[in-house]
Amino acid sequence: MCDFQPKLVAWLDHELPEDQAAEVERHVQACEECRAERENYEQVSGTIDAYCDAVMAAKTHRSTLRWVPAMSGALLAIAASVLFLTPQRHRIEPRSSSLRRLKPFPSGFLPRNLFFQRNQLRIKDSQPTRASFQFKSQFQNQPQNGSLRKPQYKSRSRPKRCLLPVRSRKE
């Protein structure tokens, strides 16, 4: 056994003082046995390093895989609860687009200025005023041939009839 072999590992780890390191290096270049030992030690060191990397990769990979089924199951459960447990909302569609346009908007669904604009626009189109409407109603509901006919529009609180021309569906 060569005298320098106890210092080989420390020399490979750069732990020797400079003078000793230079001496070992000169010897290793000349000694066949120490060169073989040096290669052997370097191989062992490399294997230990690769082994630590493999342990690290295996444990990290395993812990990642352990969470995959749990996370996917939780996501599926959340999706199922959202789909089946929330109450369904039935939306009533208007019969036609023309009816929807003619229907007055309630004040709660529009801003105040827009609500008044819409209603003023609707009344403006050849719609009779309230006084002419009442006069016309009284004139039409006069009793005929002595029979007492109950007037159809007696109450003032009755909603106004929409007198806008109703568009046909073909339009």
Partner: protein
Amino acid sequence: MTSPYPWRCPSCALRPAPLRLRSCIGELRKPLLRYLVCLGLSSDEAQDVVQDSFVSLQHHLAGGGTQDNIRGWLFRVARNQARNRQTSYHRRFAEPLDSDMDLIAAGATPEKAVLEKEKFRRLRSAIGLLAESERECLLLRAEGLRYREIGDVLGLATSTVADTIDRAIKKLAEKCNV
């Protein structure tokens, strides 16, 4: 931007400019994690220990603690925490170093994977025959610690560390026959 703490990373001590604490944490985090996993902690436990160790380091530096051999100090704290966890009930959920895992090097072909697996199996059995101090010295050396730092972590003299590592490497070279 200068570092909030007037210390320099021991692994980068030769560089003239002082390095920031964050960059040193980024440099030491992976070796510390690998060391703890190889000690036998699970991946999650090792992450927790690394986090706690860096918090302890921050308190240590903010409190004006000693700033030479920070790397040895950090590994010693992490090792003590790992030992405490291994003696507690958390140990049951961890996997030991010599468990039957599929250790395959990354990016290896099937033939190479078989050879690597066989080599790792022999190395694992050889490591199992080593003494506890020899195993710990080898693990710390694999993380790039100097003999003086290993001595600080394990409470051994530097010459003892050198002898222990020399003995362990020779045993492994003989047993593994790589």
